[in-house]
């Protein structure tokens, strides 16, 4: 656990500091506000989800993208599991404010409150799934476009905590279902998480 904690904070030149920005006005056009509110209500109404995902990561240090796939499960309001099955089994669980990563025999946990540079990574997806607009706005400006059947939400960090490298997050969806989740980083690295169909038990 300590290993992880140390490691997380080891991004070059990354002393930890808290980024607690006051909620700011959304940059979403006034006309779109009611739609965004409706979307948030729709998302918040969803209590569970269990879907397949594929992820493509493009990293500057690598010549070719890394592909992975697995399953995502969600229980409102703050339990999220990302279970990677390929190429290497690994599980990431967010429960309450605690992140747990398991692969093989290794288990690591860390508390998000301790790592302000990590919180936006996790809150962006959790708060969107939970339809928790105020949690999103604590970290991001929200730019909503489209309509409920085909929406697009761009999250731009309000203020970047030292060591935090998110440039923007682009989420698309259809109604209460999230379809893609793309993170672009300041150094050009980016990843695209594509959410597949619901797995019916």
């Amino acid at each position: 656990m300590r290993a992880l904690a140390l490691c997380l904070a080891m991004a070059p030149g990354a002393p930890s500091a808290t980024a607690q920005a006051a909620p700011v006005a959304s940059t979403t056009p006034a006309a779109a506000q009611p739609v965004l509110d409706e979307l948030m209500r729709l998302l918040a109404a969803r209590r569970h989800g269990h879907v397949r995902f594929t992820e493509v990561q493009v990293l500057g240090v690598l010549k070719r993208p890394l592909l992975s796939s697995g399953e995502l499960s969600y229980d409102a309001p703050d339990w999220l599991e990302k279970r990677t099955l390929n190429p290497r089994p690994e599980t990431l669980v967010l429960s309450g404010g605690v992140l747990t990563i398991r692969h093989g025999e290794h288990t690591r946990t860390l508390t998000l409150a301790q790592y302000p540079q990590v919180a936006p990574w996790v809150e962006s997806i959790r708060a969107t799934l939970a339809g928790d607009r105020s949690a999103l706005e604590r970290y991001f400006h929200l730019e909503f476009s489209g309509s409920l059947p085909h929406w697009s939400l761009v999250l731009v960090p309000v203020e970047r905590a030292p060591g935090e490298t998110i440039a923007a997050i682009h989420i698309t969806g259809e109604g209460a279902a999230m379809r893609t989740f793309e993170i672009r980083q300041t150094d050009g690295d980016h990843s695209l998480l594509t959410i597949g169909p619901e797995i019916t038990p």
Binding site: A9, V61, R88
Partner: protein
Amino acid sequence: MMRPGASGTLIWALLGMGAAAVAARATYTTDLSAFLPRSPSATQRLLVEQLRSGPAARLIMVAIEGGEPQTRATLSADLARRLRADPRFAAVNNGDAAGLDHDREFLFRNRYLLSATVTPQRFTVAGLHAAIEDAVATLGSPEGMLIRPLFASDPTGETLGVLEALAQGRAPPTSAGVWASPDGRRALLIVQTRAAGSDTDGQEEACGAVRRAFSEAREGLAAATTRGVRMRMSGPPVFAVASRAAIRSEVVRLSSLGAGLIALLLLAAYRSLPALLLGMLPVASGALAGVAAVALGYGSVHGITLGFGVTLIGEAVDYSIYLFIQRTVLWQLWVWPTIRLGVLTSICGFAALLLSSFPGLAQLGLYSIAGLEAAALVTRFVLPAWLPADFAIADLTRLGVRATGLLGKLAAVRFYILLLPALAAVYLYGHRDSLWNHALSALSPISAASQAYDTQLRADAGAPDARYMVVVSGADRELVLEACERVSHKLARLTASGVIGGFDSPTSYLPSLASQHARLQSLPPPAELNARLSAALVGLPARRAALKPFEHEVEAARAAPLLTPASLAGTSFETPLAALLMKSGSGWAALVPLRAAGPQDIAEADAARVRAALGDEPSARVHLIDLVGEADRLYAGYLREAQHLALAGFAAIVLLLGIALRSPARVARVVAPLALAVITVGALLVALGHQLTILHVVGMLLIVAIGSNYALFFDRNRENPQHASVPLTLASLLIANLATVTAFGVLASSKVPVLADLGSTVAPGALLALLFSALLAYTPAPSASVPPTPE
């Protein structure tokens, strides 16, 4: 012409001034060392040394309890920030990110010196290929988010390896960003003072600084949020400060309470202020003589000796009681010899304590011997001359007569009363397996509740006291570290096979210079690394150009200086290193605490397997020690010693009585009631849930030493009935006994266990000694014989 006794007064005055001068210049100590035994074996010496002054003795555990988790976390962070800025503290850890800055920097910068995976093989083409392939796989996983920033400068993952080796599940869990107990109810901080463990003043200042910082942090928050939030501290510095404070206040409290109560008792008995003041003269002289003797004999006087000293008041006052109440023209002939023998038996008892390995007990012995001696001599040679011509105290004949009547009634049922010791003996025999307290902690002035809280906090902090520990000792630091690395290899195999759960080695923080040197030698020179890296990347997705930082850092590492203990300054590894690696005597020693694989302690069989696997080292000594077993052995030794001393003291008293009384029957009549009292008190203590400690044993010796005085008076009355007033003897014994019971009873109320144990043994013991002596000596007086009243 000199008044009779004037020469005695003169000598007394001169000696008194000398003693006062010595006492005034004496040093007074209050640390716990009086009840830490002088250590016998080298291992035990190391342990006791560590206990007294090692880095562990400088650790304060701080818990913040009550209120909301977020409030506790905020207070923890604020408290840590304040303490980090305070030069009185060497290290402050609370698990918050701010505390890890130095650690991160240190580990990352020195990864090629610290990582055990840095070998020549690791930096071959194949080795680099395998390491980088592994790191790339990690990059794509959720964990990748964490190592991504490091990949370009550390593609072989050495930093992560070092972190994992260090982590091993040692740190407490975190809640709201700071260390917390597993149940989440308290936030935890571990603070190391700069003051040495033996520097109680420095520790007291540090404890005060923590308290002040906490109240400042608390005042920084809204009163509503901090309602019910409190801070508690534990650990050796806190204990040292608390026990010093306890001993100081106890000495004052017990002495004034004891003296006050005894003064009231005597005032009630004598109804004469001059008598009371004169009666205190031998006591004050005795106390002064005792302090002076201890100061001369031991160089310094322990506070706790003064605490025991209250018992001296109880006994020394007896002599003047006998003088005042049994004052006849023939006092010197018929009373004094009995007192003299009583003093000598008491001295025999206390003399046994002089041989004790506990400096506290030895001091008590010397203090009491000198004190009683002085009190008795003052009573005999100074006090009579000071008595005014019209000196009179209330006539206690009536009290004596009433006591005689009561005694007669008791004597009628004495068979039943004497059944008590018989039952007690049976009871003790029945409980013979659980009589003794075998924990050294029973002597600690720290309350059981505080000790339990300390254990709880240690468990919460993930740093429970290890039961087994490998001790590696050798001539110098490097020899010890090198041996320690070989020991670590063996222990790693035992961990892998599940015999033990893990271990902490100082070499995780500070590898031997030889290992560090070998690791640097494994790093290829720049041109070589360049070529090998290019070849290693064939077939891997990593971009060649992106790994330039790696090449630069390896090159820089090759030229970097090797790590020494000083390199760890300012990191949170400084504390564990200092706790695990230390100078010991003329050489060095490393401690490697072992963790059990499960929640239970390591089993004996597994310990034997560890011992067998460790084997011998050519250049260092390696021992597996069982701390619990070692402490048990240590304590068992002292308990045995106390028992032997008590028996020796008892034997000396019997011998003395044999010489003085010249009659085995008389000796038996004197000793029998004392033995019965000891047995009854022993059973009483056990029945009340006490387990007997060394101090109880010493208390039993004192019952014999003090009780013999009573038995001797009954013996005298029996031998020379024509010279004694039975009621007055009884009255004087009753009052003397009450004074003793009061003094020891006050001691029994002490919060310091060593004092309380002694008091709770001697107070009832003295009472019973008087009762049994009276009952065994009782012969129904012919109704016609009215005892003569003095004068």
